[in-house]
Each structure stands twice: as structure tokens, then as C-alpha cells.
């Protein structure tokens, strides 16, 4: 899970989940404090989900944060 998805693909990470921002890749401090955990849950759940997906090589997966925010 990283915001630098191009770099991750370049060094041949195979399952890449696109992060939020470099200094907080799995969270979003700009949302209301009580909602921030929902962002992290969405990102973590996506990472778990991606572990069950077959890939051929470096593949970037987005996280749908619309609902979490």
C-alpha cells in the first residue's frame, strides 16, 4: 500500500494498493475525526481483498473512498 504506485510497479511489487497521501498512505486526517477510522477500514479491507486476487505482474488497485469519507 503506497501512494507512489509507479515507483512500486517499477521495483516490481506485484499487488499495489494506491494509498491516500505520502505522509498518511492508509488514512485521511482531513475527514472528521470520528470518520477517519472508516477510511482506514476501507483501505485495509481493500488490501485484504487484493490478496485474494490473481495478478500476472505489477498491478495497481484503487480504493473506493467515496463511501468512507
Amino acid at each position: 500500500m503506497t501512494t507512489l504506485t509507479t515507483l512500486a510497479a517499477e521495483v516490481r511489487a506485484n499487488r499495489i494498493v494506491a494509498g491516500v497521501r505520502i505522509p498518511h498512505p492508509v488514512s485521511d486526517p482531513t475527514v472528521a475525526p470520528d470518520k477517519e477510522i472508516d477510511v482506514r477500514i476501507a483501505v485495509a479491507r481493500r488490501a485484504l481483498d487484493v490478496l485474494t486476487l490473481a495478478v500476472e505482474g505489477p498491478t495497481v488497485f484503487a480504493v473506493d473512498l467515496a463511501k468512507a469519507r
Binding site: M1, L4, P23, P25, S27, T52
Partner: protein
């Protein structure tokens, strides 16, 4: 800056002293003991040059001499590497050479491993060493081969004359204690090492000069070759998340407050596992970011923003996967050399495997 010649390098034409003393390592085949049926032959030391060693001596024409040849069977040396290393080390202690030459091993994997073992034995005694083999010889994938001076050869012994010439030249230099240039200058395989040198022009001047040459269509050589990264076949997907043990790994440098292991903020040389057993949350009073490469304001407030322990605990409790492993693996991914990063990955993967972890979430800043 690896393509710059160090200033003392040109002034090193030493006068002919006594011949350089060489110990040469060969497998059972090139050592004249026999073929595959003798591959279990233990380490044996014979006086003087044998087989390829004679070709080396012809190149030297008296400037160096093979004082002893160490021979070991391919099976023996690859099965009993540590015993072989001890035996080679005692041969080196007995003969005190100026340099060890191993091989050339071409594309023979077990022979390549023997050469790596011999070079390691020499290194452990402070004796210079050089070997030669095909660049994708499996022995070069071993951790043990890192940092060794390896000259490239073709795949088969047809390349013996060229390999002998190259080995003889570089071994003479090493044996005389002369400064060794860069991989590109000396023709050995790049070791991923950098050396600081003084240069009369600043980096800016050199970059402009390089750009001008490029624009003019002239040849130029980068001082910082682009790394070619290994391709790793993707791990098969998990069939289900139920019952699966998941571990967290991060390059974001989140450590217990006070950084008890003094992990570096930059140019990481090690990783550490930290226990998150029973923790529902990484809090800012127990954990802190020490990564020197990102604005840590948000991570300092809540380290879960880098490593989502809180979210994964909730998902674990909700039964969305088996269990979160007790270990959080921490690295600081800034200015870290690819060589070190590769080593961290290999070491962490072994530990994960031992702990029965089936899935890993790595967060990177």
C-alpha cells in the same frame, strides 16, 4: 560517482618485486581428479599449478606463481559448504597467498558455489580474491556471493583463454595490493557498491557537460546507472481470508517511542520486528515515526495512519480474516540501498514463513 578513477590509481605501477603468491581453487574436474563420479571428493590441497592454473602462469610470465591448488568435488562443496570453507581456510592459512583465484566456473552451478565458498574463506582471512563465471550462474544468486569480485565469462569452458587472461590480470593487481578501479574499468560484474572520490568539477558542471554531449549526439556515460530490478513472480492469491494469518510490514519507520534499537532515519541498514500482540491501536505516546523522508506530523499524531493496526484489529474481530500476526516488521525506507532492501526482504520473508504467515500487507510512505 562510481565511474571516476581515484587519483592514486595511475601512480601505482610498482616495480617488479617477488612473484605474487596465488592459491587457486578448482573443482574435481578441472583439478584433474575426475568427472561426476568424483564429485564427492573432499577438499584436497596440491602443490603448484594444475590445469587452468598453468594457463594463468603463462599469462603472468613469472610475475605471479600458483603456490598451491585447492581442489574440491562439486557435490562435496555444495553439500558441506561450511566444512569446505573451514578446510579451504586452513589451506589459505598454511600458504598465506597474496590473492586467491577461484575457477573460472562458467555456468556450472555447484562449481560456482565452490568458488563463492573459496572466495568467502579468503575474505574472512583478509586475503583478496577473484573468481569468474557466467553472469547468471545460480551461485551468484546466493547471498554469500554479494560483494565478491566476479569476472564475467561465457557459459562453457570454450571461454577459458579469455577468462584466464582476465583473471590473471586482475589477480596480479589484487595480489600486489594495487588500487582496483570500478567494475566498468576493471571488467568485473557490478557489486552495487559506491565509493566516495574527489572530483575537480561539481556535480552540476558534470551534469551540464553530460547534457551538452547528449544534445550534440555524442556519447556520454551516466555516473548513476539506472537499476534493473528483479522480477518476482506474483505469489498465488489466497483462496480465502478465513483462517488466514496476516502480518504487517512497513517501510514507514514506525517504532516504539524512543527508538530503542536506534534504527537509522536515513540509509537503513537493518529492520526490526516489534510486538503488537494484544494492541488494538498504535498510539502516539507508545509509538513514533523516525523516518527521515516524509512530513511526520500526521504519523506522530496517530501512527495508525502509516500502519493500520486499529482497522485490521476491527476486521479481525469481525471475522473478515483469520488473525493478525503478533509481529510488526519495521524498516525505514529512505535512502536505503537496493542491496540492503533486498536483504531485508529476504530476511523478513524467512521469518514470516517460519511464523506461518500466509498474507502480508506492506505499507510504504
Amino acid at each position: 560517482m562510481r565511474d571516476v578513477v581515484s587519483p592514486n590509481e595511475t601512480a601505482q605501477r610498482t616495480s617488479q618485486g617477488p612473484p605474487v603468491r596465488v592459491v587457486h581453487y578448482l573443482n574435481q574436474f578441472f583439478g584433474g581428479i575426475g568427472g561426476e563420479q568424483h564429485a564427492d571428493h573432499p577438499v584436497e590441497v596440491r602443490a603448484g599449478a594444475i590445469g587452468p592454473g598453468r594457463a594463468l602462469e603463462r599469462e603472468w610470465d613469472g610475475a605471479a606463481t600458483v603456490v598451491a591448488t585447492v581442489i574440491a568435488g562439486d557435490n562435496y562443496v555444495s553439500t558441506f559448504a561450511s566444512e569446505a570453507e573451514v578446510a579451504i581456510r586452513s589451506a589459505l592459512e598454511a600458504h598465506r597467498p597474496d590473492v586467491l583465484i577461484a575457477g573460472p566456473a562458467f555456468n556450472a552451478g555447484r562449481y560456482g558455489m565452490g568458488c563463492v565458498t573459496a572466495c568467502r574463506a579468503a575474505t574472512s582471512l583478509g586475503i583478496s580474491s577473484v573468481t569468474a563465471m557466467f553472469p547468471t550462474n545460480p551461485a551468484l544468486a546466493m547471498l554469500e556471493s554479494r560483494g565478491l569480485i566476479v569476472l564475467p565469462t561465457v557459459e562453457t569452458a570454450l571461454g577459458m583463454p579469455t577468462a584466464a587472461k582476465a583473471l590473471a590480470r586482475l589477480a596480479l593487481k589484487l595480489g600486489r595490493g594495487e588500487a582496483v578501479g570500478t567494475a566498468a574499468e576493471e571488467g568485473f560484474l557490478p557489486r552495487g557498491m559506491r565509493r566516495d572520490v574527489w572530483h575537480e568539477q561539481t556535480g552540476a558542471d558534470r551534469a551540464i557537460a553530460m547534457l551538452k554531449r547528449k544534445i550534440a549526439g555524442q556519447t556520454y556515460r551516466s555516473e548513476l546507472p539506472i537499476e534493473i530490478f528483479d522480477s518476482v513472480p506474483p505469489a498465488p492469491p489466497l483462496a480465502r481470508l478465513a483462517g488466514v494469518r496476516i502480518a504487517l510490514v512497513t517501510t514507514g519507520g514506525i517504532v516504539p517511542r524512543g527508538n530503542p534499537d536506534r534504527l537509522r532515519e536515513y540509509n537503513s541498514v537493518t529492520w526490526r520486528p516489534y510486538s503488537i500482540a494484544g494492541l488494538n491501536d498504535l498510539t502516539g505516546d507508545a509509538w513514533e515515526p523516525i523516518h527521515g523522508g516524509y512530513d511526520s506530523t500526521w504519523a506522530r499524531e496517530d501512527p495508525d495512519r502509516i500502519v493500520p493496526v486499529d482497522a485490521l484489529r476491527l476486521l479481525e474481530r469481525a471475522g473478515e480474516f483469520g488473525a493478525l500476526d503478533d509481529r510488526l516488521y519495521v524498516m525505514v525506507g529512505v535512502g536505503t540501498s537496493v542491496g540492503n532492501a533486498r536483504r531485508f526482504g529476504e530476511e523478513i520473508a524467512l521469518d514470516l514463513q517460519k511464523r506461518g504467515v500466509q498474507g502480508v500487507i506492506l505499507t510504504a510512505t
